[in-house]
């Protein structure tokens, strides 16, 4: 990893951001997870420890490394012609649904803002 352009060096001043309870609550809300007080404490400790481990990567100098979102770094412009393909039949699409009603998937009601 240190080979081509990266020099390993210590960012001594860099302090790992602690995951506080407020962050855990926020992430839980975004994921629609109901956590109790005890779980919030547990997860904030656990997440903080996981993140500080991952943060080791910050010790790497990536000044000259362009951000990479894809492993296939040279691949560009992969598209397809606008040609119709056969879709699944409604019965097939619904085959794995835990709940259905007529031709529809049936899901717990979620009204935004509520």
């Amino acid at each position: 990893m240190a080979g081509k352009c990266g020099k390993l060096y210590k960012k001594a001043a860099k302090v790992t951001k602690v995951i506080d309870k407020a962050t855990v609550k926020h992430v839980a809300l975004l994921s629609r997870l109901a956590l109790d007080e005890r779980e919030e404490t547990t997860y904030s400790t656990q997440l903080a420890s996981i993140l500080s481990y991952i943060n080791k990567l910050n010790e790497l100098d990536t000044k000259d490394t362009p951000p990479t979102s894809h492993v296939l770094s040279n691949l560009r412009n992969v598209d397809r012609a606008d040609v119709l393909k056969e879709s699944l039949k409604a019965e097939e699409a619904l085959a794995n649904a835990p709940e259905k009603e007529g031709d529809f998937f049936r899901i717990p009601k979620v009204i935004e803002g509520k």
Binding site: V78, D79, R80, V83, F104, R106
Partner: protein, 476 residues
């Protein structure tokens, strides 16, 4: 203190393609629920999205028409949220490298031209449809719309009144229709609009707390919702209240905006690069080829019409607002060179019929040449203007050209002087009393005589010719 509204608009446009944005499922509207899905748009494990070339081309075409810079490297990102309208639990959208950015639209508002800057144009996938059953604890989900190509067009906050917002939307829609990249049908949801609005002291360059307005189903609804929101915010600010950043829904029935969520609950979409789609680097020659397919835009067409034809600004605006109508108009003029008459017919009876039938002007089945023939028949006094209108309606009903109706019904006006003179002579002989009345000074006896001639000829006699013959025979 005087306040002014600051408005930015987000338009979502469903692009007209045969298949969805990232899979080969059909984009047809109104099909059996969940009959247009596949592993890709259902988000099944192991499936790989692949961008629809046509959708990509359409988005570049729109970007160019809106004078935007097409990004050198275009990238897709995942937008994560928990509303269950996409089976994948995220939406493929664009975050920091959209298709294009920094363009503008010139709109005409209150007789003036105003530049509305376009912030960005990005391509994403549409969500599926949720049907909320009233009362029940469940919602129903239809995946058919999930994954359809959607273009988001975002303005800078350059709009300063609900009227301007309306004019921007009308102008934008007309451009988009010219590009033939979408049906632009708000009723079918192929064009949707959200608004961001705040108020600030007039002349200030600071932005107030932004309210996002949703759920407007027509351009008129956008204008009305904005009018209500402007007054609500101005009243609040004038009363010394502090406005908060929030999302509000327009309730058309009650004509009010209702709070949906505040900033604290605002979405945190946790965008990250879509690993299943590699970046796109459009070749400059590809972009130039698309630029060449952009037709004359409505404002350029209006300018040309004004220079070439002696028409009112209103007529031109109406004709140009619909590309099909403008094309029809020009095609018709090739065979019948009277712009005002052609414009009147298109804007009158023909538009009335296409509105009534809710179809485009070309779908009425009357060719521009067919209309030209009909207008020539009026000028040549083969039929009257009134008959021509009836012929047109019948031709539309029977889906044939007007001339065919005229021929098949023998509707051609009787203008042959010799023949009409014979008929007039017979009628005068039969109605001596009226002739006496007329000569005795009862002018309306003439109307009766003309009516008799019309009856005799089953309405085909040319009134101008009869008049001439009668006046001569009755000694004027």
């Amino acid at each position: 203190m005087k306040y002014e509204p600051v408005i930015g608009l987000e338009v979502h446009l469903q692009l007209k393609t045969k298949t969805k944005a990232f899979c080969g499922c059909s984009t047809l509207f109104g099909q059996r629920p969940n009959s247009q899905s596949c592993p890709v748009c259902l988000g099944l494990p192991g499936s790989l999205p692949k961008l629809n070339h046509e959708a990509f081309g359409h988005s570049i075409k729109v970007a160019l028409a809106l004078h935007c810079s097409v990004q050198k490297e275009i990238k897709f990102d995942r937008k994560n949220y928990y509303y269950p309208d996409l089976p994948k639990n995220f939406q493929i959208s664009q975050y920091d490298k959209p298709v294009a950015h920094d363009g503008f639209v010139d709109i005409s508002s209150c007789g003036k031209i105003k530049k509305i800057r376009i912030k960005r144009v990005h391509l994403e996938e549409d969500a599926g449809k949720l049907i909320h059953q009233t009362g029940g604890p469940y919602s129903l989900f239809d995946c058919n719309r999930a994954g359809m190509p959607l273009l988001e067009i975002v303005t800078e906050p350059d709009i300063n009144s609900p009227e301007e917002a309306y004019d921007y939307l009308t102008g934008l829609k007309s451009i988009l229709k010219y590009l033939e990249v979408s049906d632009c049908d708000m009723e079918k949801g192929s064009l949707r609009c959200d608004a961001n609005i705040s108020v600030r002291p007039a002349g200030s360059d600071k932005l107030g707390s932004k309210v996002e307005l949703k759920n407007m189903n027509s351009f008129k609804a956008v204008r009305l919702a904005l009018e209500h929101e402007v007054s609500r915010q101005m009243e609040a600010v004038s009363a010394g209240e502090k406005l908060q950043q929030e999302t509000r829904l327009w309730d058309a029935g009650k004509a009010v905006t209702l709070l949906m969520r505040t900033k604290e609950e605002a979405h945190d979409y946790r965008y990250f690069p879509e690993p299943d789609l590699v970046p796109f680097v459009p070749d400059p020659s590809y972009v130039e080829d698309i630029r060449k397919t952009i037709p004359e835009m409505p404002d350029a067409k209006a300018k040309r019409f004004k220079e070439r034809f002696n028409l009112s600004d209103y007529d031109i605006a109406v004709l140009v607002s619909d590309k099909a109508a403008a094309d029809y108009f020009e095609k018709c003029l090739e065979s019948y060179d009277n712009p005002k008459t052609v414009a009147n017919w298109i804007m009158g009876d023909i538009t009335a019929q296409s509105n009534l039938k809710n179809t485009g002007i070309r779908e009425l089945g009357i060719s521009p040449q067919g209309l030209a023939e009909l207008l020539k028949m009026i000028d040549g006094q083969l039929i009257s203007g009134k008959m021509a209108k009836e012929v047109l309606l019948e031709a539309i009903e029977k889906r044939c050209e007007p001339a065919q109706i005229v021929r098949s019904k023998g509707l051609e006006q009787l203008s042959d002087k010799g023949e009409l003179e014979k008929i007039v002579k017979v009628i005068l002989g039969r109605n001596e009393k009226s002739v006496q009345d007329y000569k005795g000074g009862k002018k309306n006896a003439l109307t009766f005589i003309i009516g008799q001639v019309m009856r005799e000829t089953k309405g085909k006699a040319n009134p101008a010719v009869i008049n001439e013959i009668l006046k001569k025979s009755l000694g004027e």
